[in-house]
């Protein structure tokens, strides 16, 4: 994260915020690089909005400090901080035209008149709204308003733009389009984007790095692939995408995990795993292979786990299978639609099946029961409501 010798765009040191006795943001340290697309991801009420508002200066931190471009800004008011915000409600000035909304900052900061027009036109061109300059915000669609807000946020060329769930008000299709648009614009203007969202898909598709927050704490800061493939905690594993989690203990040799009722299961053991310590095994549904119990593939990467096929759910691009294990826990397996899924079509519900996975796909996480994601819903494989997910059933 510190590839360059320059100071980071944003540096937070021991930053914390309490409202009365309620500590909304636990003391945290964070560095956000220049030109980075950085997401703060977490469920509602995790403190991410408060964190963002402390960076902008709308909230005064209870403790710690904020540095922008290497300079401490704790006593710098919002209007003088070199950052702009894109509000969740967009906060476009309803009495001003699109043009005047975008020009607002330049006029307030007394930019030379001859410069204003060019910069406003450039900003409108960036968001492809040149033709709408004279309209009032009320005459625009939700997506267009969002673009105006973005143009207004970048026209002053701030070092950092903070975006507060900017896609929340848009419909599903527009939201997907805007994800790519935002990423394109961020690359084009070369400004650090701090993107606050509760939508893991948005965070995964756009970000260079993601900070996952829960209950006022930053649990993990990493690239989207690392967050997905190597979650640091059970919360991260279940909050990002869907994930099967099994509670167990490290075996005596320190080379595997013993899950009560299932025996030793293949897992990639971290070096620091101590024999006998309680851990959580996390396996993504798409990394599990489902096969009929009678035809165990010879090439199986390791011994599998036997179970009973409960049901299957068609989701368009994939099938989800729910399998009850001997421990009574239910595991989810996802298989892309097509030949592989068709081959499994012959297995009737209720028949015995075998689940196998590569040891490297089973992450061993510290058992942190306190940090469990509220639900493991995701667009890639939501678990069927009828089948209890493993995380809810003590193994």
């Amino acid at each position: 994260m510190n590839e360059t010798t320059e100071s980071p765009a944003v540096k937070l040191t021991g930053l914390t915020k309490s409202f009365g006795a309620n500590q909304v943001v636990q003391p945290l340290d964070l560095e956000i690089g220049r030109n980075e697309f950085f997401s703060i991801l977490g469920p509602s009420g995790c403190g991410k909005t408060t964190l963002m508002r402390m960076i902008t200066g709308f909230e005064t931190p209870t403790g710690g400090s904020v540095e922008l471009d290497g300079k401490n800004v704790d006593s710098v008011p919002t209007k003088s901080r070199d950052l702009n915000m894109l509000f969740q409600s967009y906060a476009l000035f309803p009495h001003l035209s699109v043009y005047e909304n975008v020009a607002f900052e330049l006029r307030v900061r007394r930019t030379p008149k001859r410069e204003i027009d060019g910069r406003v036109q450039d900003a409108l061109a960036l968001v492809r709204l040149e033709a709408f300059a004279e309209r009032k915000p009320a005459e625009l669609s939700g997506g267009q308003r969002q673009r105006v807000a973005l143009a207004r946020a970048v026209v002053g060329r701030p070092a950092v733009v903070l975006l507060d769930e900017p896609l929340g008000a848009l419909d599903q299709k527009l939201r997907k389009e805007m994800q790519f648009e935002l990423k394109r614009m961020q690359r084009e203007v070369g400004i650090t984007f701090i993107y606050v969202t509760h939508d893991q898909e948005e965070a995964l598709t756009m970000s260079d790095r993601i900070a996952v927050m829960s209950e006022g704490r930053v649990l993990q800061v990493a690239s989207p692939t690392e967050i997905y493939d190597a979650p640091a905690s059970r919360f991260v594993a279940t909050f990002i995408g869907s994930c099967n989690v099994l509670d167990g203990v490290v075996d005596a040799a320190g080379t595997g995990v013993v899950v009560p009722g299932l025996g030793a299961l293949p897992a990639s053991m971290p070096a620091e795993a101590r024999p006998g310590s309680g851990v959580t095994l996390a396996i993504r549904p798409e990394r599990v292979t489902l096969s009929p119990a009678v035809t165990v593939p010879a090439s199986a990467p390791s011994d599998g786990v036997a179970g009973t096929l409960l049901e299957r759910v068609f989701l368009g691009d994939e099938w989800t299978f729910h399998v009850r294990l001997a421990s009574d826990a239910v595991m989810t397996v996802s298989v892309p639609s097509g030949a592989a899924a068709a081959a499994l079509g012959a297995i009737p519900d209720g028949s015995p099946v075998l689940l196998t996975w590569a040891a490297s796909d089973a992450r061993v996480l510290p058992a942190d029961g306190s940090l469990v994601a509220p639900s493991s819903s995701s667009s890639s494989s939501p678990s069927a409501p009828s089948a209890p997910s493993v995380s809810e059933v003590p193994a």
Binding site: F58, A91, R109, R152
Partner: protein
């Protein structure tokens, strides 16, 4: 997200500036409301001079005198009339509000404006229109005669008083009920029908409980001012059955028995406070009890899904009642306009079209003088109320002020205290302080009654602004002053105009406060109309009334229909 904190968003941290902005409003409330009421309270225990005036000292005589059957009768009659009027207004208001709230969205503002026009029309004009309508030879009597009923005149009569009281206060009842109904999800009606509730069940179990707060406001807003009315019993009741208001006016202005008047005012004040407290307690009791009702709905399986023939009949019946009410609201106004062009001097003949009365109106020097006084007082009072109201609203909405509820309550006091009590206490305090009645006292009195209106209008407008707007301006580099000038002020301009115009209209048509605060040479237009009316209705007054109705339309257009609706019926729940 973070719902509890969002209320705080955009508010400036507590600072001296916030409290400083509240100072003018507090000065008005303390010096012109609280102190005068304390003086009245003290005076009610003073010994009265048989020659008129106040001898000071302490006695309970004044209260003892009120037990006299003459006073008790008036008091009982007033309470009865006020209660009757409040109940009738609220029931009719409920039907009208329900009718409006169940029309399609595009029709609702139109219907609401139809209620607003009579509401904003000068109180006296609305009252004397009934003289034309019900008086000898008027359209109503002619109609009765056509049906063979031998009638001379319905003025003065008990019926005329009752009708014009209903007419005067019905709009006040419609607005709060409509406001509370508008927040009811319209699909609840279908849900109730789907669950087997008939028309009565739907109303008794769903609409009535959900609009309880609106109904309570309606009762309060019609009961309290009816107690203080003194114009209607004189003009339409012939002064035979005076209300408390008449008694207070007589005691202060004719008998000059201030201590007895003060005691009577205190009784009215206490009755009013008791009824406010009672309504508040009732509402508080209701709320936790509500869920209980959701269990007991008897399912009527015989009439599944909307097939309630009785319900449809009832809906149709209430719709017709509502339409009749709209007719009722416009009959007097129509009579006013028609007779203003009647070339006959008597109302029982229509001799042809003329502009003569308008010409005479503009030749009436005393009337024009009164118009000038009212305009000057209205402009100054509205300007003061708007400026002070703006500062107050700004402090209460934009600053984190400690004791907000207390300040809001204090500013609303003039709205709950009967105007007649405010009027006599102002008169008392002005005469005690040696301030001669005149332009100054008129303006001060009118500021007292318009300030809460202006403050409420502006508070509503400010809190409906997205708090992110001022944050966005700050974020884009604007200082607080630039944020105010470039963002907040332009957005609030229509509301500032609305606050000013409503204050002006209120001041312009006020008669109660003016009765006590006007001096020689500062007769306001309503006072002038009132004294003219006591000797008889002239066609000239119809012309004046017509012009005032037109002016009201102008005010409504200037404020804007949607804004008017927000002011009177609360913010829209559907964006």
């Amino acid at each position: 997200m973070n719902a509890p904190r969002s209320a705080r968003r955009g508010r400036i941290a507590p600072s001296a500036a916030g409290y400083l902005m509240l100072l003018p409003a507090l000065a008005v409330i303390v010096l012109l409301v609280i102190v005068p009421m304390l003086v009245i309270a003290r005076d009610s225990f003073a010994i009265s001079d048989p020659l008129g005036g106040n001898l000071g000292g302490f006695t309970l005589d004044n209260y003892a005198k009120l037990i006299d059957p003459v006073y008790l009768k008036t008091l009982g009659y007033s309470l009865g009339m006020a209660l009757l009027n409040a109940v009738v207004c609220t029931v009719v208001g409920y039907i009208v509000a329900y009718y409006i709230a169940t029309r399609r969205a595009s029709l609702q503002p139109v219907l609401l404006v139809l209620v607003i026009i009579p509401f904003l029309t000068d109180f006296l004009v609305r009252t004397f229109a009934w003289i034309t309508l019900l008086g000898s030879g008027g359209p109503f009597i002619s109609l009765l005669r056509a049906f063979g009923v031998d009638a001379q005149s319905l003025v003065p009569s008990q019926l005329a008083v009752t009708l014009s009281l209903l007419y005067a206060f019905l709009p006040v009842a419609v607005f709060p009920i409509y406001a509370s109904m508008r927040s009811i999800d319209p699909s609840l009606k279908e849900a109730a029908a789907d669950l087997g509730a008939g028309w009565w069940q739907t109303h008794a179990r769903v609409f009535l409980p959900l609009s309880a707060s609106g109904l309570a406001s309606s009762v309060m807003l019609t009961f309290v001012p009816t107690l203080g009315v003194f114009v209607i019993p004189v003009l339409l009741g012939g002064g035979k059955d005076p209300l408390v208001g008449n008694l207070i006016v007589t005691l202060f202005t004719e008998f000059r028995n201030e201590p007895l008047g003060a005691a009577l005012s205190m009784v009215v004040l206490v009755l009013m406070l008791a009824s406010v407290a009672g309504a508040g307690l009732l509402l508080r009791k209701r709320r936790p009890a509500q869920p209980r009702h959701t269990h007991g709905c008897r399912r009527d399986r015989r009439h599944p899904n909307h097939r309630h023939p009785k319900g449809r009949v009832m809906d149709r019946l209430t719709s017709w009642i509502a339409r009749a009410v709209f007719l009722f609201l416009y009959l007097p106004i129509a009579a006013l306009i028609v007779y203003s062009f009647n070339s006959s001097e008597v109302s029982y003949r229509f001799d042809g079209f003329t502009f003569r009365w308008y010409a005479e109106l503009f030749a009436d020097r005393m009337l024009l003088e009164a118009l000038r006084t009212s305009a000057i007082v209205g402009l100054i009072a509205a300007l003061l109320a708007t400026v002070i109201g703006f500062l107050t609203a700004f402090a209460l909405v934009r600053f984190r002020v400690k004791g907000r509820a207390f300040f809001v309550g204090a500013i609303l006091i003039p709205l709950i205290v009967p105007e007649i009590v405010l009027g006599v206490s102002l008169l008392t305090v002005f005469s005690t302080a040696g301030i001669p009645t005149g332009l100054l006292t008129l303006v001060l009195g009118h500021v007292v009654i318009t300030l809460p209106l202006a403050t409420l209008v502006l508070m509503g407008a400010m809190s409906s602004l997205d708090p992110s707007l001022s944050e966005a301006a700050t974020d884009l580099g604007a200082s607080p002053w630039v944020t105010f000038r470039r963002v907040l002020f332009p957005l609030l301009r229509p509301s500032i105009l609305a606050a000013f115009l409503l204050s002006f209209t209120t001041s312009f048509s006020n008669i109660v406060i003016s009765t006590f605060t006007a001096g020689v040479g500062t007769t306001t237009l309503p006072l002038r109309i009132y004294s003219t009316l006591r000797t008889g209705l002239t066609p000239e007054l119809n012309a004046l009334g017509t012009l005032l109705v037109v002016a009201t339309l102008g005010v409504i257009l200037a404020v804007g229909v949607s804004q008017m609706r927000r002011i009177l019926a609360g913010p829209s729940t559907t964006p």
